[in-house]
């Protein structure tokens, strides 16, 4: 038996986001609750049907217990897989497994955070690795800065190329009514921004916002009963190489190489088949690393790949059409928002930023300091 048996066995039938921005006075579970209600409505499914739960916040150690109680449900399957921002991609795969194995029928993946209105408090970052904290890195920025510096050293990647990622993200964000930052920017402005941890400036960093999201997953044979057009889960895989950045085997190559190749294998597709690319852009360097590691270009060519507006609106290879963590939303963990944009593109729901004839979408998650990588691939019914 191989993982390919899971291909297309479950589908996303409802998605929603809520509270993107600054919502002082709202707690994480309250924002999550609003997103859950909207996702259930989007799917046309009742809360009583939720028997599988994957809940995450930045502030609850027992997030599934807190969320199940809050929602007033008693699920027969729960998973709190916690790998940082990529957790939701892992949870999606576990949801598919749970449904396929008969542990439950309807899985809710939900997230809520008030990281911005609560003063930028990312509880997940409190567990600063004990060795590294002795040396006062700006966590998590310095970890990514070290990866960027090494990539620049080995491949000649430039700060201008990093800035291209930011300019593209902001241009997409300007087209997304839900994005927190909706003003475009230019290379000059990005390059002049205040340095936080060289070579990354404050504009190379994702936002800190509030935000909640929810996604409803059912078996393939139930997908047409609910919601709008279903997005089928064709492939998914997670991989990890380290927790602390100094333990990463190669600072220029992430575990996305493994998660990506396994997800492609499960889905039976390759990078060139993908219509929609959503990559977890906690920092500008992430997009360059993941484009390389997921096979959209060769190692070392990510900088050139993102240049001259190629991943921006109107470019040949649109990336992060919602504006990503840099321009749309990043409440500490972005993975669920990343998958939701992939699903919305497949539904054709994206208005001005819609990619024409989108059939296959990849949403890639990152957690820790490039520590966890998790790739998901969704397709329309035509891809089954």
């Amino acid at each position: 038996m191989s993982a390919e048996i899971l291909r297309g066995k479950a589908a996303v039938v409802g998605v929603a986001q809520a509270g993107i921005g600054n919502h002082e006075g709202w707690q994480p579970l309250e924002l999550m609750g609003v997103a859950v209600q909207r996702a259930l409505e989007d799917a046309g499914i009742g809360l009583h049907e939720i028997d599988g739960l994957c809940a995450t916040t930045g502030s609850h150690y027992f997030a599934n217990l807190s969320a199940a109680e809050y929602l007033g449900i008693q699920p027969s399957f729960t998973s709190c897989d916690m790998n940082g921002g990529s957790s939701f991609m892992s949870q999606l795969l576990q949801g598919v497994m749970a449904i396929e194995s008969g542990l439950c029928k309807t899985v809710l993946i939900a997230y809520g955070s008030n990281a911005r209105s609560n003063g930028g408090n990312h509880a997940g970052l409190i567990e600063t690795p004990e060795w590294e904290q002795l040396y006062r890195p700006r966590i998590p920025v310095t970890g990514y800065a070290l990866a960027a510096a090494r990539h620049m050293h080995e491949y000649g990647t430039t700060r201008e190329q990093l800035a291209e990622v930011v300019v593209a993200a902001r241009a997409w964000g300007a087209m997304n009514p839900e994005a927190f930052v909706r003003e475009k920017t230019d290379l000059e402005t990005v390059l002049a921004a205040k340095m936080v941890s060289d070579p990354l400036s404050v504009m190379d960093c994702c936002l800190v916002t509030d935000g909640a999201a929810a996604m409803v997953l059912v078996a393939k044979d139930r997908a047409k009963e609910y919601g709008k057009q279903a997005a089928y889960v064709l492939g998914a895989s997670s991989a990890t190489t380290h927790r602390q950045i100094d333990q990463m085997p190669d600072l220029t190559t992430t575990a996305a190489v493994q998660s990506g190749s396994r997800a492609y294998q499960m889905a039976g597709v390759q990078a060139s088949d993908i219509d929609v690319i959503q990559l977890y852009d906690a920092f500008s360097i992430n997009v360059i690393l993941f484009l390389e590691d997921l096979g959209f270009c060769a190692k070392g060519e990510g900088g050139a790949f993102v240049s001259a507006g190629r991943i921006a609106p109107g470019g040949v290879r649109p990336v992060n059409t919602n504006g990503g963590g840099i321009s749309c939303v990043h409440p500490g963990m972005y993975g669920l928002f990343c998958m939701i944009e992939a699903v919305r593109q497949l539904r054709g729901d994206c208005g001005d930023r819609q990619i024409p004839s989108a059939e296959l979408a990849l949403a890639h998650g990152n957690g820790g300091t490039l520590s966890s990588q998790a790739t998901t691939i969704f397709g329309t019914e035509a891809c089954l």
């Binding site: 060795w131 590294e132 002795l134 040396y135 006062r136 890195p137 700006r138 310095t142 800065a145 070290l146 990866a147 510096a149 090494r150 050293h153 205040k194 340095m195 936080v196 941890s197 060289d198 070579p199 990354l200 602390q244 950045i245 100094d246 333990q247 600072l251």
Partner: protein, 133 residues
């Protein structure tokens, strides 16, 4: 394989005790591979066959980030990942010994900074003149 004794303290505390005594030690597995940070079993092999060895202190900069900081708070500082001559990598802070700015690939050398009322800290010097080492 000999069963690992739980008497005394764990490897991390032992590492720190040695550092507090002025000695920078790392672990070497029975297969000859060095590893750092301190662990109860060797990463990858899972073996408890390892021993403490004095580290050479010789290293090179694998990656580097300058962190801006106001002069009144001590000025900019450099966080680096250095690669020990023995192989393992570690995060550290550099102490510049000259006007030469550090860059990836440069040679650095470990030293133990004793701190009053706190554990000793392992740091690396950059910009040492040949012969001064």
């Amino acid at each position: 394989m000999v069963e690992q004794s739980l008497s005394g303290h764990g490897p991390w505390a032992e590492y720190q005790a040695r550092l507090n005594a002025g000695q920078f030690c790392i672990q070497q597995g029975g297969d000859g591979q060095f590893f750092f940070y301190p662990r109860a079993i060797a990463p990858g092999s899972g073996s408890n066959d390892w021993q403490w060895v004095a580290a050479s202190g010789a290293a090179s900069i694998y990656s580097l980030s300058r962190i801006p900081q106001r002069p009144e708070r001590g000025g900019d500082y450099y966080v680096a990942i250095v690669e020990l001559k023995e192989g393992p990598r570690m995060m550290t802070q550099l102490r510049l010994q000259s006007d030469e700015l550090p860059k990836i690939g440069d040679t650095v050398e470990a030293f133990v900074e004793q701190q009053e009322g706190a554990d000793a800290l392992l740091l690396f010097k950059h910009g040492l003149q040949e012969g001064a080492r």
